[in-house]
């Protein structure tokens, strides 16, 4: 019996070691790193760092986390914020109760705890599909808000059930200033983006996408669907857990159960939607949209002085209307998200350059 395995690989199909796209990709990564670690910290003001850049990056990371689950593995979650809260409360208690643990260890452990919780709440995925899964994840959302409210142990019996960020230090560097917090956020994010690419380009990522596109066919091919789904919840929750720590410690400086409420979960859902499913960098676009839109609208109202013509409350409600309308508009006109715009734009430019 002949076998495919026996025959030598066809040399023609082995790609050259370094191709032009690979070089370009390398150049992009290098540029990205220079901008992230050099240009931004050198030029951004405290205001931009603390209230726009840091939240955008962290929310983008949250988008990546959900996108791994939803965009790549095709699973639903309406409880992303709950896993973020598991991360931040874990990290807080780790720092409190194991003060010798270095900061990277805290992040990884917090992520792992969130991952374990993610697996538990992902278990129903083995029996149920599609929108029904929303119930389980929504259950997680309410359960953890309740847990962290109901058991003050998690917040070290703080009076307001709020935890405040511990001193952030790494190798003796103080990360308290906006620049320090920015560097922490951007370093962790860079590492996690790298990890995300490793995951989605691995066999695991391929099998997730196979399950997403056609679950029955995937199982017929021998893909371990149940295990892969749980792994998707684990990986996504790992990311979310770390994102939660960054949100609480590096951005807000505080966290309580309410910080990670359903609205936050919905925001993350919108980020994936706006940025585009099954993308990595698109999430930052989505996050920028979520973070900037209310600020821009607020400025517009202030600048145009319409506040004096009409009731300010009415105008802020108008913002809500505009925001909802934009979401519907994007869903109708650009189902692949804003990153599809950019991709098309880049292709158009490339096409023009080529001709």
């Amino acid at each position: 019996m002949a076998s495919i395995q026996d025959s030598a690989p066809d040399a023609a199909h082995v790609a050259p070691a370094v191709s032009t796209p690979a070089l370009m990709r390398l150049a992009l990564v290098a540029t990205g790193l220079v901008v992230a670690f050099g240009v931004v910290p050198a030029y951004a003001t405290d205001y931009w760092l603390s209230s726009i850049i840091i939240p955008t990056i962290v929310m983008g990371l949250a988008g990546i986390s959900l996108n791994l689950l939803q965009g790549y593995a095709g699973l639903v979650s309406l409880g992303s914020a709950a896993f973020m809260s598991v991360g931040v409360f874990s990290a807080y208690n780790l720092i409190l109760r194991a003060p010798d643990l270095p900061l990277p260890g805290v992040f990884v452990l917090a992520g792992l705890i969130a991952a374990a919780v993610g697996v538990v709440f992902g278990l129903p995925a083995l029996r149920i599909k599609g929108f029904y899964l929303a119930a389980s994840t929504l259950g997680a959302q309410f359960f953890f808000q309740w847990l962290f409210t109901n058991y003050p142990w998690f917040s070290n019996n703080s009076q307001s059930l709020t935890i405040s960020a511990p001193r952030l230090e790494f190798l003796g560097y103080d990360l308290q200033s906006p620049h320090g917090r920015y560097l922490l956020v951007v370093s962790v994010t860079a590492l996690l983006i790298g990890l995300a690419f490793l995951v989605v380009r691995s066999r695991l990522g391929r099998e997730w996408m196979a399950i997403r596109d056609m679950e029955t066919a995937a199982s017929v091919l021998g893909i371990r669907v149940a295990r892969r789904k749980l792994e998707a919840y684990a990986v996504s929750s790992f990311f979310l857990g770390i994102t939660g720590v960054l949100w609480g410690f590096a951005y807000l400086g505080t966290a309580d159960a309410h910080t990670y409420n359903l609205d936050k979960s919905f925001q993350i859902l919108f980020i994936v939607l706006i940025g585009g499913t099954a993308t990595i960098f698109g999430n930052f676009l989505g996050a920028a949209f979520i973070v900037l839109t209310p600020i821009v609208l607020d400025h517009l109202v202030l600048a145009s002085n319409v506040a004096y013509l009409s009731d300010q409350g009415a105008i802020t409600n108008l913002q809500r209307v505009i925001f909802g309308a934009i979401i519907i508009f994007i869903l109708i006109k650009e189902p692949d998200g804003l990153s599809a715009w950019i991709r098309r734009g880049v292709e158009a430019i490339r096409g023009r350059l080529a001709s």
């Binding site: 019996m1 002949a2 076998s3 495919i4 395995q5 025959s7 030598a8 690989p9 066809d10 199909h13 990890l195 490793l198 995951v199 691995s202 066999r203 695991l204 391929r206 099998e207 996408m209 196979a210 997403r212 596109d213 056609m214 029955t216 066919a217 995937a218 199982s219 017929v220 091919l221 021998g222 893909i223 371990r224 669907v225 792994e231 099954a278």
Partner: protein
């Protein structure tokens, strides 16, 4: 030659409607067996029972010496049952190559961590998987489409990708659900040639569903005729062609 697959009194119904009624037959190692019958005869359901997508109400199946009443699709795959689909069931947002690679999933040994960080068994696995995928892609003449997203490909090509995906892990038994549906005569002849070649080259046992009786008679060594979930006839092409009941129930009518 020994039988690779045996079905004993397999029955299946949906919400009280019988789809398969106490069906028994066997398929010899290395043969090509065709299931024919009118729409709704239970052909696809039968394939779904064999590889575990549906669970039979009663009866049992012996595959390669393993007896089971019900099996999970993944287990069936790992036993060596491959499958293509009547309707497009490709991973539509993946490339041809990724689809074919996904077909190798049942052979994956590397653990979660090894896979993500590309260490341990993963490195060797990547190499052999890539080689095997490329071989099958070449074998089915899909090189030109290798990195295209499958949903952008013409229908006939997609059917071949489906076959490549099922074939790449070298199953012992390949279930083909209407592999030539929607094709013109030239495409059918080409697909028919490919199926024969797969059977000859790899010794793969094949069970296929096909409506074009002309093609079936030329391709299969063994034909099972179904009607309303029951077996009407079972035997070599010549035998079946001359069976009066088959002529009455099926061959006589134009499809």
């Amino acid at each position: 030659m020994a039988a690779l697959l045996e079905l004993h009194d397999v029955s299946l119904s949906f919400r009280g409607v019988t789809a398969i009624d106490a069906l028994s037959f066997s398929v010899e190692q290395g043969s090509i067996c065709a299931l024919i019958g009118p729409n709704g005869a239970g052909k696809s359901s039968l394939l779904n029972v064999i590889n575990g997508v549906y669970r039979a109400d009663s009866g049992d199946i012996v595959f390669d010496g393993v007896r089971f009443e019900a099996i999970r699709p993944g287990k069936a795959a790992r036993l060596g049952i491959g499958r293509t689909f009547q309707h497009n069931a490709l991973f539509r947002r993946l490339s041809v190559r990724e689809n074919v690679l996904a077909g190798l999933s049942r052979l994956g040994q590397a653990s979660f961590i090894e896979t993500i960080f590309r260490v341990g068994r993963d490195a060797a696995e990547r190499r052999t998987f890539a080689a095997r995928a490329d071989r099958v892609i070449a074998f089915l003449g899909l090189e030109a489409h290798r990195d295209r997203i499958v949903s952008t490909l013409p229908y006939g090509v997609q059917k071949r990708v489906d076959l490549a995906r099922a074939l790449v892990s070298e199953p012992k038994l390949l279930l083909l659900d209407e592999p030539m549906a929607g094709m013109n005569q030239d495409e059918k002849a080409e697909m028919s040639r490919i199926i024969s070649e797969v059977n000859r080259t790899f010794g793969t046992t094949i069970v296929l569903i096909e409506h074009d009786v002309g093609i079936v008679l030329g391709l299969a060594r063994h034909i099972v005729v179904l009607d309303y979930g029951r077996k009407v006839a079972d035997g070599a092409p010549d035998q079946v062609r001359d069976d009066p009941e088959v002529i009455a129930a099926y061959l006589g009518t134009v499809h």
